[in-house]
Subunit: 181 residues, 2 copies
Amino acid sequence: MERCRLVFSGSGGQGVITAAIILAEAAVLYENLMAVQSQVYGPAARGGATRTDVIISESNINYPKVIQPNVLVCLTQEAYNKFYPIIRPGGLLITDNRFVKIQRKVDAQQKELPMYRRVMESIGKPIVFNICMLGAVVGLTKLVKPESIMEVLKERIPQGFLKMNREALDLGLQMAESITN
Amino acid sequence: MERCRLVFSGSGGQGVITAAIILAEAAVLYENLMAVQSQVYGPAARGGATRTDVIISESNINYPKVIQPNVLVCLTQEAYNKFYPIIRPGGLLITDNRFVKIQRKVDAQQKELPMYRRVMESIGKPIVFNICMLGAVVGLTKLVKPESIMEVLKERIPQGFLKMNREALDLGLQMAESITN
């Protein structure tokens, strides 16, 4: 496996940091990989775009910050406007098609997904938007197995909320599959 | 304010990562500071000691990993055994006196606090152990105001759990005060 550098971005409350931690834990606990996960909070965090970085690798990771992500997820227009220039050429850019209008062509595979809309239609709870996003990321990148994500969720989430999270993860996985097939 | 580098360590499930994120958010959102928060997951994370790093500063932070923390918190013996050598000379070492037996004298102010015991006696819920720890850290370092921590908790925690978190934070603050006076 090549080293994968991911940046998830959005606004506070969309759960991008939680999604990043879940992905890092899944990689380390269930896939025998190494992971580093970090966030920088600066003036931009006060009402601006939140960014969280994850690096997943088979070998030791020394520098924990991502310079050019292979995978960039933007869940708000502000996050997209701020971060689209950093994507690694040929990388994967995933945006939510309700919150982000793509304005420029970048050298990346651009995937505009109806994640928020599908979560609201099928589950009706915006709180699992981030888990749907994680499903799409895992489906498109095959970084970790969906079951590894579920194992982490089982540890972190009260029993009564697991079904809803499974549904959100599956929505994201289905979206990824319908694009790649 | 001088730049402060903190490492919180313990085992999975003790909530050290959550505590670090809450502290970083409090610093940035309510105290006009910059913060970086990160965790490295490696083989040690699989059943070993969890470590999370926070840097808080008035100016930009370039390198997000902590080499020598000014403040080191260890909530398990394994975390203490692994991380005590990295403390900055003259720094602050906070351990829980139920889980950690201090075996060596290090060049640091060593505070062995009955955090877990007091949380269980007064509140009876181990889930707020990390918030009590955060109260002790804030009380001893004055890095941010307790009210800034509470503002973050209000954003993150369902209404019904706020009182319990306030109590845990206050327990930590009281422990810090009883030591410093």
